[in-house]
């Protein structure tokens, strides 16, 4: 048997076959392979291979994972949980953040996409510090400061979003500033929009009229839903009408999606969030007086008439403040019961399963896929840890 290992001339395996072999390796092993030879290093730390690897990852069923980010004992905890064929939401792995957080309470998740996390940390009287981080390859970078005066910044309502533009194979962060004339009044001007692009490493202000949203204020808290190549928030117009504000990351233009109209006898309902639901989006609507939540799903993305309400309302689990934080791949809703544990609710059978994970107000839940994105970037402020 040892003879067969003596002189194996594999050298002539064509590059595309070598990279095909690499796509079957776990990420850690792929990283080890960069130390095998110069050729292998250049094959792996290559944007084309990283895209192929990502595509392969998306298609591999057992790679579907759910990311949870929460605070435990004032410390940030990042865990990945299995999604497919796993009713128990078993923890797959966990990460430690390399970012020195000034105060985890001020940490916001801007979004996750293709294995990258976009996080923002804010301190009073400071610009947000925004980071892009891939925990699988242990690389992160901090975005440059925004090109706006702090005074303007401080007086504005800020919203951020993060996503991927497949047309240019680029990752973008969007910042929307709504200048406040006075407390609670978002003024009569259209918000200012800036876009950061990972490929250029710079912020760019959008000026074309079509690239600006209508006069409105974003009311949804937390990260926007990134679906169908666009970011989605709940926004409100001057005459108190709520709608879904959409920013197409590729074309860099804003659209609007109408929310379903409701007869007034249903009581005062408020749209609170938009979440990704499969290839489309879902909206959460809360009854103001008792906190009851209705979930609506846009069955056909972009078609306002296809908004469909779940037959059952979200259960209220003892506390008045139960709210959904995302969906599992199987359609179950993950509910956060303030100060208590996360549960998974089946909207059809109404079955509730305790996930035995303690949640708190900042808990983030989103889909995740392991990738090598950022692995080819050796310069431009990318930190390896």
């Amino acid at each position: 048997m040892s003879d067969s290992n003596k002189s194996i001339r594999w050298g002539y395996l064509p590059d595309e076959i070598l990279t095909h072999i690499f796509t079957f390796l776990p990420i850690k092993s792929t990283i080890i392979c960069t130390s095998v030879s110069k050729t292998w290093k250049s094959l792996i730390q290559n944007p084309t291979f990283i895209s192929t690897h990502l595509h392969h990852s998306h298609n591999k069923n057992q790679n579907n994972l759910r990311l949870l980010i929460l605070l435990r004992n004032d410390k940030e905890v990042y865990t990945l949980h299995k999604e497919d064929d796993d009713p128990d939401f078993t923890e797959y792995t966990s990460f430690e953040s390399p970012i020195q957080a000034p105060d985890p309470d001020y940490r916001d998740v801007v979004g996750t996409c293709n294995g990258l996390l976009c996080l923002s940390y804010s301190l009073p009287k400071h610009f947000e510090e925004i980071f892009l981080w891939n925990p699988c390859v242990r690389k992160f970078l901090q975005l440059p400061s925004p090109n706006v005066t702090f005074d303007t910044y401080d007086k504005s309502l800020k919203s951020f979003g993060f996503g991927f533009d497949p047309k240019t194979n680029d990752y973008k962060v969007v910042r929307i500033l709504s200048l406040l004339r006075s407390r609670g009044d978002f003024g009569m001007s259209r918000p200012r929009v800036d876009v950061y692009s990972l490929s250029t490493g710079e912020w760019r202000m959008l000026s074309a009229s079509a690239s600006l949203p209508p006069t409105c204020a974003i009311t949804s808290h937390g990260p926007p839903a990134f679906a169908s190549g666009a970011l989605h928030w709940i926004a409100v117009t001057g005459d108190k009408k709520r709608f879904v504000l959409v920013f197409d990351l590729g074309d860099e233009v804003f659209h609007q999606i109408l929310l379903p109209e409701l007869p007034s006898y249903t009581g005062k309902m408020r749209w609170t969030h938009v979440y990704v639901y499969g290839n489309s989006i879902a909206g959460f609507q809360r009854r103001v007086e008792n906190g009851q939540i209705n979930i609506w799903v846009m069955k056909e993305y972009g078609v306002a008439s296809s908004w469909t309400k779940f037959s059952h309302q979200c259960p209220i689990l003892g506390m008045p403040y139960t709210h959904p934080i995302g969906f599992r791949r199987n359609g179950e809703v993950i509910l956060l019961n303030m100060g208590s544990e996360l549960v998974s609710w089946n909207p059809d059978s109404q079955n509730i399963k305790n996930l035995e994970i303690n949640g708190e107000i900042h808990t983030f839940c989103g889909s995740y896929v392991e990738s090598l994105v950022l692995f080819d970037k050796a310069t431009k402020g990318v930190v390896t840890y």
Partner: protein, 126 residues
């Protein structure tokens, strides 16, 4: 299966022994694959058997044959087999497996190993 391509491949191939090896391993693969597709454990056992009975040089030829024949399932299967064989192994093990030598400048390799030190944690002993 594309019969014309298969025939042409065998006509081109000079070495009859290699051809026979491929004929007995690659061709029956689709049926085998279908039979044991559902059962991952069986597939793993088949992979182990394949690694034991097939010489690494032949595994190269099998990969190239599957690629030439445009036989995606076989190509995926062989590539996955190789990936499983080198998974979580050290750089030296992988080099020996592929018969490669380091072509890094002195110091370059140390730098890489230091940069990605965390990825070498828990690697199988050689």
């Amino acid at each position: 299966m594309k019969f014309c391509t298969v025939k042409q491949y065998f006509d081109d191939e000079n070495n009859n022994n290699v051809t026979n090896g491929i004929a007995t391993t690659v061709i029956p693969l689709p049926n085998k694959h279908l039979k044991i597709k559902a059962n991952n454990k069986e597939m793993e056992q088949y992979e182990q058997e394949l690694l034991r009975n097939v010489m690494p040089q032949e595994l190269t030829k099998l990969i190239l044959a599957a690629n030439y024949l445009n036989f995606k399932e076989a190509l995926d299967f062989f590539c996955r087999t190789v990936a499983n064989a080198i998974q979580n192994k050290s750089v030296d093990y992988v080099r020996k497996f592929f018969g490669l030598e380091s072509d890094f400048e002195p110091g370059e390799e140390e730098k890489l190993c230091k940069e990605f030190a965390w990825s070498f944690e828990g690697v199988d002993e050689d």
